[in-house]
């Protein structure tokens, strides 16, 4: 699975910041985010379990993590396409990183730079903030 996930491998958080910076129109920015979501490898149906579910009031997120060679390998899914794209944005920063790197990364600053901070707000029921919290929790426990 890890070899097919570009995020945190061939696509870094810097790449995302650079590419999103090219777009002026919101339509182009969201089109790009939707396309990022499409590049996420499909999550195995068997992994869509209650324990992996981060329930939001508007959309749902599933997350599965494993520690391989001291690096977090994260797979994610959502029933909403833009949220899925935003998950890819998060994975570009967190996937295939050591727990120490995950904890050192300032995700709020990253989303602010991307002008997407509103999506990370705890008031949004999209499950994104809860997913970030879960990844950090796993990194802390690792």
């Amino acid at each position: 699975m890890t070899d097919t996930n570009p995020f945190g491998h061939s696509v870094s958080s810097e790449d995302i910041v650079e590419t999103l910076g090219f777009f002026d129109a919101w339509e182009d920015r969201y089109k790009y985010i939707i396309d990022l979501g499409k590049e996420l490898p499909a999550m195995d149906d068997a992994l869509h379990t209650e324990e992996r579910l981060v329930r939001g009031c508007q959309s749902q997120v599933w997350i599965d993590t494993a520690l391989e060679n001291d690096r977090l390998q994260i797979s994610v899914d959502s029933d909403a396409f833009i949220v899925k794209g935003l998950l890819a944005v998060v994975l570009a920063a967190y996937n295939n990183k050591t727990p120490a790197q995950v904890l050192a990364f300032n995700v709020d600053e990253y989303f602010e730079q991307l002008q997407l901070l509103n999506h990370l707000s705890p008031t949004r029921g999209n499950g994104l903030r809860a997913m970030v919290a879960r990844i950090r929790q796993i990194a802390e426990a690792s």
Binding site: W26, E27, Y30, K31, I34, C57, Q58, S59, Q60, D79, A80, F81, I82, V83, H119, G125, N126
Partner: protein, 414 residues
Amino acid sequence: MTAATALTQAFDAAAVRADFPILQQEVNGHPLIYLDNAATTQKPNAVIDAITDYYRNDNANVHRGAHALSDRATQKFEAAREAVAAFLNSPSSRQVIWVRGVTEAVNLVANTWGRSELREGDRVLLPYLEHHSDIVPWQMVCAETGSSVEPIPVLESGDIDLDALDSMLDERVKMVALNHVSNALGTVNPVQQIIGKAKAVGAKVFIDGAQAVAHWPLDVQALGCDFYAFSGHKLFGPTGIGALWGREELLDAMPPFLGGGEMIETVSFSGTTFNTLPFKFEAGTPNIAGVIGLGAAIDYVQSLDRAAAAAHEQDLLEYTLALAADIDGLSRVGHPREAVGIYSFLLAGCHPSDVGMLLDQQGIAVRTGHHCAQPLMAHYGVPGTARASYTIYNTREDVDALMAGIRKAKALFG
């Protein structure tokens, strides 16, 4: 010209809009199009000014001070109760209890009437259409009293299945609780008919009027229900205040809900006697500014031509349905016999949350999600819907903007 357009022109939504300062702003570089009125309505200057004026000039605790400010505050506070009583056509203002909103009203009735009246084997019926606030308090009380909460089936159209209700009603049914209008679909429930059926087996009826109050005049006596509740913030009033109306003999017989100051007559450690209605149910210092703001909201609503306003909202819904028919993949969830200006929809290939985010980018505010009606969403087999809800200050231009926004969202996923 149809009758609807003639009435629409008679109702000046643009003039109404000018009364609402919040609507004069841009969001994400676009003029704000606020279509989330079923979640909460915006506040006119009259309400904002009444609250500010109270805090600037009259703030004092009510019913207890021996001074001028307290007299003024109490006078305004009780005048608002009279205004609500008149608004609901209640025989008296003693039957109007201040609550934070419908959620508290349901909890109050479930915990006082429910706990004292429900016995093992008794049944409480609620339609599938219900909001979580109408379901959960009854579930909690029924679990403790050995009674049961049972869902009344809903037809594919989003209408309550009245035949199914008939077959469920028997003398063990002690309460039928339902919303006047569904928040998720806009269905106007035939409450009068349902009240008649419930009364025939001796059941009490609680009507959640949250989604109805802003749309047309109410008359609790003509309805014949036992309890009726609404939230001020869905009626252009402040959040945190609402009213529970009840039949006087029921309210008199019910035990108090919360204990504290104001709700007592005498207190001693050997026993306490309770105040009379409505104060028996109003422990502690109330939300005075909220009550005064709600009073101002009712005055504001009553100053409008309500029949013309209702026709205007119907026109917006019909206009929406006409334009929506031209967009492939756009579908309405439910098609109730009668509905208020609520358009709950799905766009093929998009999740409701995607639609909401893309509309927000265009300055258009809608609600997305399960609308606190998970059983209903499960009934339709959808994760949720996107919902546009109209009120007095919306216009056909807002509907045009919504449809353009939906087309744009669709193109992004194309």
